[in-house]
Amino acid sequence: MLEPDVYGKLSAIVGEKFITQSPAILDTYAFQWGTEIESVQRGKEPTRFGTRPAAVVLPETTDEVQAIVKICNEHDIKFKALSTGMGPWAGVSHTRSIQIDLRRMNRIIEIDAKNMYAVIEPYVTNAELQAELFKYGLMHHAQGAGPQTSPLASHTSFVGPGFTSPYTGFSGRNLLGAEWVLPNGELLKIGSYEHSGKWFSGDGPGFSMRGVIRGWMGAYGGLGVFTKAAIKLYSWPAPSDWKWEISGTVPHYEWKIPPYWKMFVLNFTEWEQFEPAFYEVNDHDAVMMASCSSAEGLAGLFTDTKMEAIEAIFGGVLLHAKRYFIVLVTAHTEREFNYRTKLIKAIMEKHGGNDLIEDGVIVPRDSHYAESVRNMLGGHAFRFSNCFQSTHGGMDSISLAVRIAEINQPIKAKYIEKGVIGDDRGEGVWTTAYEGGHTAHLEVPTVYNAASVESCKGYTEYQDECNEVDLQNALGMPFFIVGDKVHDYYGPRTMDYPKWLRKIKATFDPKGVGDSSHYISASKKE
């Protein structure tokens, strides 16, 4: 509980309807997917209930956020802002912390179709933004976390690959500017906005702080609050009179596929064939989507229920799907479409592959085309056990991604053998490339059972082993290198980067009120 005078001050800022310290409401912020893994890492029994915040506030404006943060500095209260909030990094780690729920800041401020950027607030979701952008013939990069999550959160603060990455890139690369309430309550506008009131460039004229605010994967909410972000937009490959139309009834929806779209599943026997083919497909900048998974994953992606997925696995997918990647070709014109489809087929043939769709092994429904651009396919992985999480996560080259996949397989298989994680024979990985194949990302989606103590503990052990393997084999920084302890473990062998992170934290958050549990503290804890 906060002191009554502090609560009163916060209440005066947002209004009494928009602040609470009711335990029943607070507990719904304490509970987060993935906290069960962190609790095991801390030597406790797995539970999704983490730290209960002292209060939750729902500001509506940047001014209110600033005022809240200033109160936190004044009274030594830690804070963590969240949008939809999905994962332990969204929650607080100290009992004397408040949660700043940005749900009421949900406006699309501007869509500048000519200059191809949008300015959004934190609680605009990917699906909402996409739906509005299509009306302008535009789309944005939606991160893999899902259509219901916040593009602002990903662009400013957290990771950022997505299913359309070959076309739309990586969240951090798409940030053109931000309005940032610093941990001390001051306001900073970064990118060209500060200079000209326009958001066309993230690197100025004006301050470019993209490296500072994100570092590698983002500050996970540990470095203030981002109240607006300008993000880059891309042309939406559909005719101007085309509309997003859905018909049918759950679970099988129908979608009107735009005219020049086609999906392939390019299947190869070995990684040696997969790798050059994947390089070439990305190098030509000709596809909307190119990503791989296991046979089990393929069945999960192109079905609508768990039972359908299981039937597909044993109905032929397991037998035929080897080293494959799914390709979605989209084009604005017939000529462009013909060129691109010919190109994909040529690459496939050159490397001795076959198309599992053409072979009838798996046939995506039209709704799966819709789900691919709406970044919903990743969510299908939850269908197997209601839960999955990803290990590894490094971003480097396509070759390194393949190397991680190869190294990971026997490790994952060991935990499958123990019966603690989902059985994909260790083959389940997810890769996408960015910027013409210049960089690539690989993560290992892993199904486990959040309601089973053994499974949670087993998955945790597996994740820790993956992190160690990444370090020992120089496979890049994994996803969940968060918090002081882990940073300090990785630091000595990775150019002592935590030293620099700490300088940033100390400079921008002199009182240490921004919850640093998934970022870093200003000083090293011995």
Partner: protein, 423 residues
């Protein structure tokens, strides 16, 4: 039933927030992206399906004690099932069932329901309706020219709202049945509330008593088929009754019956009604009316940590609600043009009245109705049509409050109007 049986799913909630929105693939605009009126109005995560599931879990694990705020969070929900549909696109969870179970627990532990609910439950027990109207007033709606067949095995179960507040729906229904020469009887002052308002706020014990008494009454009269013009009554009789009380009578909503009668040529709507309409799916006729199929099976670990139900368990995700019948009917009325809203069928937006919200939280109920009216208006329709007297009450209240020129019709009113051409 108890919260215990939901523990695994409560522990497994991903807190992904999908429950706040219509299925993501169906989102066509930011304006109409939400499915849950409660989170839209109250904003804190606790007011979502997932939030309430977490709250139930926290209570179950002894982290919480009942407080007035917790009860408000629990009851400021229309129990519309929108969260359930959105959640089940991916997960095996039933947030709506968990919410209902926590309400039941609140009543069993003596803290629920809310005072406004207790008041109307008493009225149901005393007057057979939640409005406190005298029992004998129940058949006041009945015009003299309606032909009844006291020996019929088909019962038109009028329901409290159509009998006592939205009498025009009862009259239109009777007129339609007569026009089709479909024999039916009513119970008049012997008709008891279906139990929906009692059941929805968690007073399961009283609701089961009402269900048992009604079933006994119907059985004694030899009723084989029940027609309802109320989505709430339809949901109770068709879906909830069989979970607690055995019965073998057929339950049919008037929209389904009219659809059949039109197909058979027994109704011939001829009068032109020049109207552009949009149709609001009542939750209890749509997604919530999908029957619970009795299930007995076991959980089998097919692959490591991947469990399936053997035999396969019905998903109950809203697929089998009544969506097409009312639309088929509207499309056959001369002059009527149907245009759809963005949130329809199993992901329709709730009118805001249900599960005790209209009586206990009228501001919230009106907010939701206004949201729906806004969506209806965005279609360019000049009339909003639905198939539930309680939806009509709330949506019409919203239209009146706004002094909005948009008309509201129950489906039965339009059908009856179009039959006037026969006269």
């Amino acid at each position: 039933m108890s919260l215990e049986q939901f523990e695994e799913m409560m522990d497994s909630c991903v807190r992904c927030s999908k429950c706040k929105y219509i299925p993501q693939i169906a989102i066509k605009s930011k304006r109409f992206s939400h499915v849950c009126p409660s989170i839209q109005y109250y904003n804190f995560h606790a007011y979502s399906g997932g939030g309430r599931m977490i709250m139930a879990n926290a209570y179950h694990k002894g982290r919480l004690e009942w407080t007035p705020e917790m009860l408000d969070v629990l009851y400021q929900c229309t129990n519309c099932g929108g969260c359930d549909v959105a959640c089940k696109w991916v997960y095996d969870f039933e947030p709506n069932e968990v919410i209902h179970e926590l309400r039941t627990l609140a009543v069993e532990e003596g803290v629920g329901p809310m005072p406004a609910h207790k008041k109307y439950i008493e009225l149901v027990k005393k007057n057979q309706n939640p409005y406190g109207e005298p029992i004998e007033k129940r058949s006041d709606w009945l015009p003299e020219d309606v032909e009844l067949d006291e020996n019929s095995t088909t019962l038109y179960f009028v329901g409290c709202t159509a009998s006592l507040r939205r009498e025009e729906i009862a009259r239109s229904t009777a007129k339609i049945l007569n026009a089709a020469k479909e024999p039916f009887r009513i119970l008049g002052s012997d008709e008891m509330c279906c139990g929906s308002p009692v059941y929805r706020v968690g007073d399961r014990k009283s609701a089961i008593e009402i269900m048992s008494s009604n079933v006994k009454h119907f059985t004694k009269l030899g009723i084989k088929r029940i027609i309802t013009s109320c989505a709430g009554c339809f949901n109770m009789l068709k879906t909830e009754y069989p979970r607690f009380v055995e019965h073998d009578f057929e339950v049919i909503h008037i929209s389904q019956l009219v659809d059949e009668l039109l197909k058979e040529g027994r109704l011939k709507p001829t009068k032109e009604i020049p109207l552009k309409v949009t149709y609001h799916d009542p939750c209890h006729l749509g997604r919530m009316s999908e029957p619970y199929e009795p299930y007995e099976g076991e959980k089998v670990e097919l692959l490591s940590q991947v469990f399936i139900w053997d035999p396969p368990k019905p998903l109950r995700q809203g697929t089998n609600g009544v969506y097409d019948a009312p639309r088929n009917v509207l499309k056959q009325l001369p002059g009527v043009e149907l245009v759809e809203m963005e949130r329809i069928r199993e992901y329709s937006y709730c009118c805001g009245a249900g599960a005790g919200c209209k009586s206990a939280y009228p501001d919230f109920a009106l907010f939701a109705a206004n949201e729906r009216v806004e969506e209806a208006k965005s279609t360019g329709a000049n009339a909003l049509v639905s198939a539930c007297p309680f939806c009509k009450t709330n949506l019409q209240d919203a239209l009146s409050t706004r002094d909005d020129p948009m008309d509201f019709y129950d489906l039965t009113q339009l059908v009856a109007k179009s039959l006037e051409g026969d006269e």
